[in-house]
Structures are given as C-alpha cells and as structure tokens.
Symmetry: C2
Subunit: 209 residues, 2 copies
C-alpha cells in the first residue's frame, strides 16, 4: 500500500476492470491472479503488485472475489458515478462516437454536442442536440464539465483545445491526428489509429512491391 501510484499502474486498472465486468457477466464469482494474467497476457505477479498499491483485495488460497474487486476498482478510478462528457465536432467520427453505446455502459454520459456548421445545429444525435460552437464555453461552465472529446479537423484542434481549457475542461480525449501541445493541469490523451498501425508495420514485412 503506497501513497503515490505510478501512472503505468493506473493505466492498467481500467483493463482489469473490463475483464472483471466480463467475468461477472459470465457468472464467475472468484478468480486467482494467474487467470486474469492468462487472459490479459501479462504476469500474475504484476497484477498482484498493481492491486497492492491500493490495498489487500484478495484471499490467500482462493484469489479475488470478482464483485468486490470490481467495486474497489470503480471507486479507485472514480467511476462509481456518472461522468458527463461533451463531444466537439460532429463529423463522421463525432457522429459515430455520439452513437456509441460504450460510453453509457462504462459510466460516461454525453450531455452536449458542438459543431461549427450551422446546417447541423439543431439536429439531434442519440437525443442530444447539436449546438453551435459559439455556445461551447457557456455550456461547459453551466454543466461544470471536466471531460471533452475532441473530434475536429487537426487544423482546428489546438484552438479548440485552448477554448476547452479556458472554460474549465481538465481532460481531453483527442481524436485529431495531431499531438496537442501539453497544458498544465490538463490530462490530454490521444487516439490515432494510424499511429498504432505504423507501430505494427515496424514488426511486419512489406510483401512484394
């Protein structure tokens, strides 16, 4: 049990949580670390060490109670309540994200959508109305939103990120294919499939050509 937990450990917690929820859905009530380890392709020691940063959740000789561990992880990750989200940019991608059920299922609720295209304003996606981006700051402040999903073109991403941060956003999930400049006090994470694919191709051999 340790006060300051390495970020690399925190990153793995949501992955553990996802497996545990799946086990729970399958009716599994307890599981030892080496079963989780096998499912995830990592070592059992790492799993036990990771949990040990937060307390003692297991039972010798038996393993972990799935239900109990799930609850603990949700508490640790602050996902024991619903987090409201805003999505900025309702193009193809933003639209698909707004329709995506996974957010709801994992404790996030999309409460606002913004776009700069007047033609889209007033339309609703998944029962959430699209508002003009002029109202971005007002809505963030009104709902005290902390998390934004950024799905605008790369050329606009930095400028929108500045506006989000100025309005009080503390976490940005960026889908634009640009590395956003770091901002103090703000957690910025990136999703870019081409970055991941280029990492893969390092290990692959181009066929003919």
């Amino acid at each position: 049990m340790n006060i300051d937990v390495p970020d690399i450990v925190v990153r793995r917690l949501p992955i553990y949580l996802r497996v545990l929820r799946r086990l729970q859905a399958e009716g599994v009530e307890e599981t030892p670390s080496h079963m989780l380890a096998k499912t995830l392709g990592i070592s059992a020691a790492r799993i036990r060490k990771d949990f040990s940063h937060f307390g003692e959740f297991g039972q010798q000789g038996r393993g972990y109670q799935v239900k109990k561990l799930t609850v603990e992880l949700q508490r640790i990750l602050h996902v024991d309540n619903i987090w409201p989200l805003v999505i900025v940019g309702v193009g193809q991608l933003g639209h698909a994200l707004a329709m995506y059920d996974g957010f709801q299922e994992n404790g996030f609720r999309i409460v606002a959508l913004f776009d700069n295209d007047p033609a889209k304003v007033g339309m609703t996606v998944n029962n959430v109305p699209i508002q003009h981006i002029d109202y971005l700051e007002g809505e963030i402040r009104r709902h005290q939103l902390q998390i934004a999903v950024l799905a605008v073109p790369a050329s606009q991403a930095e400028a929108i990120a500045d506006r989000l941060v100025a309005a009080g956003i503390k976490g940005i999930l960026n889908y634009a294919n640009i590395t956003l400049r770091p901002r103090p006090g703000v957690i910025i994470q990136q999703i870019d499939p081409t970055i991941i694919l280029q990492h893969m191709t390092y290990y692959l051999e181009q066929p003919r050509n």
Copy 2:
C-alpha cells in the same frame, strides 16, 4: 546504434514522424531535438537516444533535417510503401473508419470491407464494396493482407480474430471493447475510448453527487 530496439522506442517513432510531416508542411527544413521535445512535451535527450538506436541522423550545431529524418523514419517503420487494410464490421464505427481520410494520408489503403448483415452487402463505402463475411478468408489470402481493423461487437471479436489469424493476418487493430486473447506471432492493439477515459478520471475529482 543497436540491433534490438525496445518496443517503447518503436512506439514513439510514429509520433515523431507525424510531427515531422507537420513541420515539413509548414516549410520548416531543420529542427533541433529540443524543439521536437517541446512540441511533444518530452525530453530532448530521449529523442536523441531514440534516434540513436537506428543511426546518426543529425548534424552537430544544427539539428535534424526534417526531410531526411522523415524519410529515415518511414523506412524504419516500413511505411515507405502502401499497406493494404481490411475492415471487418461496417456498423457506425466501421463506416466512419472506412470514410476516414487519415488512413490514406498515412500510407494505408482500405481494400476490403466485410459485414455479416446481408442488407449491407453490395453497398459501397468510399468506393469499397461491402462483402459478406463468408468471403473474409478468401479475400485475405487473395490480397495477402497482413493487417485487419476489427470493428465488430465485443461478443463476436474473439471468433473473428481467430478467423483473421487463420487466414494469415499478422496485425489486428481491435476497436471492440474486449481484451483479445494474445495469439503467437500476431500483434494485437486495442483502441477503446472508455479505457482511456477511466484512466483520466483517476486524476479528476467527481464534482457534487
């Protein structure tokens, strides 16, 4: 210069490449490591050390030539030719991915789309026809495809992954919110926004509630 390069270094190369392409688009011809470092929010030493695994690409007193370094990184990452891709699952997300320009722009071309819904078969997205999933293995073998993007429901992901691997796929980019069982000789990477958001919330405080 080293034979075996740590994976963590390889993971950063696509990020460097993206910044360099951006600099090139802006007309910047050379840049020192500390400028790249500042843009990315990491240390200059790390950048120089990363490059040093592959050779000596810089000039003392001047930095790196953007054009030259770009070419070197593309070669190292095996993205100096076009990689063909297949997308499996053409729901909201698969559709958005099929429309996404970023793949083309970064050296990937979508050559086939598959879905199990007969109503979708025959429709085209971005000029690529949707085929029934029965033809999956045949097309993968015919085009000798190595990379697949998986955008099917979580419940089907493991089964489809098995089929992909049996047909010769070596890299899977998985969008389903399940951790796929590891398969020997296959690189599996995951994109799951809720995992990233749950990592963020660890560092945020839930407001009232």
